[in-house]
Amino acid sequence: MTPEEEREFTRRRKARNWVVAGTLLFFVVLFYAITIVRIGDPG
């Protein structure tokens, strides 16, 4: 890989990692919220 390609490689990998991290965090919060709501649900 040329240095430009390597920079591009790193940039894309980094961007993807951030998206995955954000998605995971979102689902952690969502599952917490779902759990709280369903525990409080009398049905």
Binding site: A15, R16, I34, D41
Partner: protein, 309 residues
């Protein structure tokens, strides 16, 4: 479009996350999300906002997953059409297997999420919708019958049904009518577009009705489905499922739909035709669906607040 050199370069690089997002067909998703929200809001009963949000999220993820599977299956067809040749797969920006795995993963998570958070009836319907779109429509019937638009419309009709069932937990006449409305709305909507947009579906062997059966048959089919749509759109009010707000909106909107479909159904294209009636019908059909579903929600809100005596 893409030259050979960047393509080999692209193959070595990780796919951009935006290309994964593109696989989910975000523009189709807006209609899915809108009708799903309407299904949730119009259903009788109460759902906690967090769970309502989760239901809509699961429906959207299921739609995205099956859209990714559609991209995967049709990658070679997309490569042969101008409109689609620059999608992530034919554009050479993503590996075929990655698209397939992404689609399966997204679909599986959506069904699991729906089942755990909401219930397994809604999850089962969601799974059915995904299989219907990705397998029955995309893989089996789309390349085989000129009625493919009718069958594809069935896939688009699932979101409000699933949204409704997520709230009520059972399937009644009302959510089935919402399904039927979108099902019968799709053919006139899409075929009106197909009449004035030059597509190259024929080139890749997808039998679109105007190409296979001709313009005259297409126009007649538009008329038939519009006539069938009218009583179905009014039925939710007629069976007492909604109040007069939805009823009056449905009657007026459907009458206008018929009025606009009439010239499309009866005329023949002349040389140097601007296709104005077809364009008008297509644009109106979009407004029709949005306003009709918005009226459904407005009707429910009004009844809930006691505004309708």
């Amino acid at each position: 479009m893409t030259t050979a050199a960047p393509q080999t370069l692209e193959r070595m690089l990780p796919t951009e996350w935006r290309d994964f997002f593109t696989l989910t067909k975000p523009r189709v998703m807006t209609l899915v999300i809108f009708t799903a929200i309407c299904g949730v809001l119009a259903a009788p009963g109460h759902i906690h906002p967090v769970l309502g949000f989760t239901a809509i999220l699961a429906i959207s993820m299921g739609a995205g997953g099956s859209a990714a599977l559609n991209h995967w299956w049709e990658a070679d067809l997309d490569a042969g059409m101008k409109r689609t040749m620059n999608r992530p797969l034919p554009g050479g920006r993503m590996r075929l297997d990655d698209a397939r795995d992404f689609g399966i993963f997204l679909s599986a998570v959506s069904v699991g999420l729906m089942g755990l958070a909401i219930g397994w009836l809604a999850a089962g319907l969601l799974l059915g919708a995904i299989i219907y779109y990705a397998v029955i429509y995309t893989m089996w019937l789309k390349p085989r019958t000129p009625q493919n638009i009718v069958i594809g419309g069935g896939a688009g009709a699932f979101p409000p049904l699933i949204g409704w069932v997520a709230v009520t937990g059972d399937i009644t006449a009302m959510p089935l009518l919402l399904f039927a409305i979108i099902f019968f709305w799709t053919p006139p909507h899409f075929w009106a577009l197909a009449l004035f947009v030059q597509s190259d579906y024929a080139k890749v062997g997808i039998p679109m009705l105007p190409v296979v059966a001709g313009e005259k048959v297409t126009r007649r089919q538009i008329m038939i489905y519009t006539v069938l749509l009218t009583p179905i759109a009014i039925a939710p009010w007629a069976i007492g499922g909604t109040g007069w707000i939805y009823g009056s909106v449905a009657v007026v909107l459907s009458a206008l739909f018929l009025l606009l479909a009439l010239p499309v159904g009866s005329r023949t294209k002349t040389a140097d035709d601007k296709m104005l009636p077809e364009k008008r019908l297509f644009k109106y059909s979009i407004v029709y669906l949005f306003v009709l579903f918005a009226a459904l929600v407005a009707d429910r809100v009004a009844a809930y607040q006691g505004w309708m005596a």
